[in-house]
């Protein structure tokens, strides 16, 4: 269905990833020299999970009609078209798949600075995600600390498939930094391909790869619960981006069921996993992965809460036609929470700003 009013907060919007040439001004002399003299600037750094020419990566009508500049394109096709009050920009960049930790960290810094200078400074509705290379935890923490003072960055961005499950304690310093600074941990679909993206081995087709993303999110959900991430970081929220939604109730049920017997193995899990999931996990609405209004309503009923849904366009990925950006079957109350309230409750930094802005957001609701 269409958005019923303006003022929605889009929690997953993609900006065109910067070329290496665009990043050069944001690299220091050493890395600029390395990148140029090793001809790394000719590499696309596009993520294999999102091949640039694949239909999923950009909706055809958006691809066909760019405006004069990239900024104007995003403004016309997304920010204005959907009447967004805020949009959280996620840049999925191949830097995070590099094996050279130092080069990866340098490129992540450049991507983040480029985002800040080229986008956040020019468009007040945009908010940023701090891209990190989580395999090098100390550099990832340093990057979070470096940008934390800029309130326009509202979350830290990781991929659904890295080298190790996200619940592992090695990542705790990243989560501690995020919690300390009121940042959310966002996990976006995508893989660094250290391992096969399916648990049974390497698939042949992008079609398989895309379906497998949802299973990666299931695995990450169980890892976060089993490892006690939310017992250690009780104020932390995880937002799953482009994860799909309809798999969640099955995972909640199975995790609860298994916990009853396997509980002593992870004694820090001190209440139903589904309760912890409802409190700490959020999912964006594109794609939802349910065929019709009845299935959407049934999914929300089985989740047992409508606090978990965050509106997203997933722009410019091809998830919907025309302006049918919302799943069918959301009640007016659930809709209001999904479009605005849940995001404000999830993102401490958005909420802070929206205290002044709440009135403004409210006014745009007709």
């Amino acid at each position: 269905m269409k958005l019923p009013y303006a003022g929605a907060i889009d929690c997953d919007l993609h900006l065109p990833a910067p070329t290496i040439a665009q990043l050069l001004p944001h690299l220091d002399d050493f890395w600029r020299d390395q990148i140029i003299n090793r001809a790394i600037d000719r590499m696309p750094f596009a993520m294999m999970s999102y091949p640039p020419n694949a239909p999923i990566s950009q909706r055809a009508d958006w691809r066909a009609a760019p405006a004069a500049t990239a900024l104007e394109t995003v403004q016309t096709q997304a920010l204005d078209a959907f009447g967004l009050s805020f949009a959280i920009a996620n840049i999925i960049h191949g830097a995070v798949a590099l094996h050279n930790d130092d080069m990866a960290a340098a490129l992540c810094r450049a991507v983040n600075d480029w985002l800040r200078v080229e986008w956040l400074e020019r468009e007040p509705r945009l908010r940023g995600s701090i891209l990190i290379h989580p395999q090098d935890v100390s550099q990832a923490v340093a990057e979070v600390e470096r940008l934390a003072s800029d309130g326009r960055f509202v979350q830290v961005l990781m991929l659904a498939m890295g080298e190790r499950p996200l619940g592992r304690r090695e990542f705790f310093p990243i989560y501690a930094a995020a919690e300390r600074h009121g940042l959310v941990i966002a996990v976006h679909a995508g893989s660094t391909y250290r391992y096969a993206p399916t648990i049974v081995g390497w698939p042949c087709y992008q079609f398989e790869d895309y379906v497998a993303q949802a299973q990666a999110f299931e695995n990450q959900t169980v890892s976060l619960i089993a490892e006690g991430v939310f017992q250690r970081f009780p104020r932390l929220k995880f937002v799953f981006l482009e994860s799909g939604v309809s798999w969640l109730p099955v995972t909640m049920w199975r995790t609860d069921k298994t916990w009853r017997g396997a509980r002593p193995e992870t004694p820090w899990v001190d209440r139903w996993p589904s309760e912890i999931i409802r409190e700490h996990l959020r999912l964006t609405t594109q794609p939802f992965d349910a065929p019709d209004a009845a299935a959407v309503a049934a999914t929300i009923a089985r989740i047992g809460s409508d606090d978990m849904l965050l509106f997203s366009t997933d722009y410019p990925h091809w998830q919907f036609e025309a302006d049918d950006v919302l799943p069918e079957g959301l009640s007016p109350a659930t809709l209001r929470k999904t479009l605005i309230d849940n995001a404000l409750a999830t993102y401490p930094r958005l909420a802070q700003e929206a205290i002044g802005g709440a009135a403004a957001i409210e006014e745009t609701i007709r």
């Binding site: 250690r232 009853r260 017997g261 509980r263 820090w268």
Partner: protein, 137 residues
Amino acid sequence: MSRHVVCSADELPPGTRRTAFVDGREVALFNVDGRLHALLNRCPHGGARICNGVITGIAQSSGPGDYRLERDGEFLRCPWHGWEFELSTGQSWCDPGTTRLRNYDVKREAGETLVKGPYIAERYPVVVENDYIIIEL
């Protein structure tokens, strides 16, 4: 409410368990270091005979990586799927509100008092010199 003699105290020494049929019900009896427990011998989850379960403590933690086994001997782990029950109440640890093992009052009494009282000794001819295990249904 009826009180039943289920066995003589000698037949349930500390560290042992046994079952008894009372009024058509199978009851699991445990003697854990002198503490007596009597529970319906059927797990509320899938019906396992809980007399075959493990008597243990409860794993507790203050956070990831911290493990403590507390209250050793106060919990029963079902032999089939590992659900944990508090022996003294029959309550499920994970779901105390809605899942419980039916438990019964159980005590040890001298034969001397038993021969006078209104007890139903289904199987055990009570002699004054012995102690007996009594449960209340």
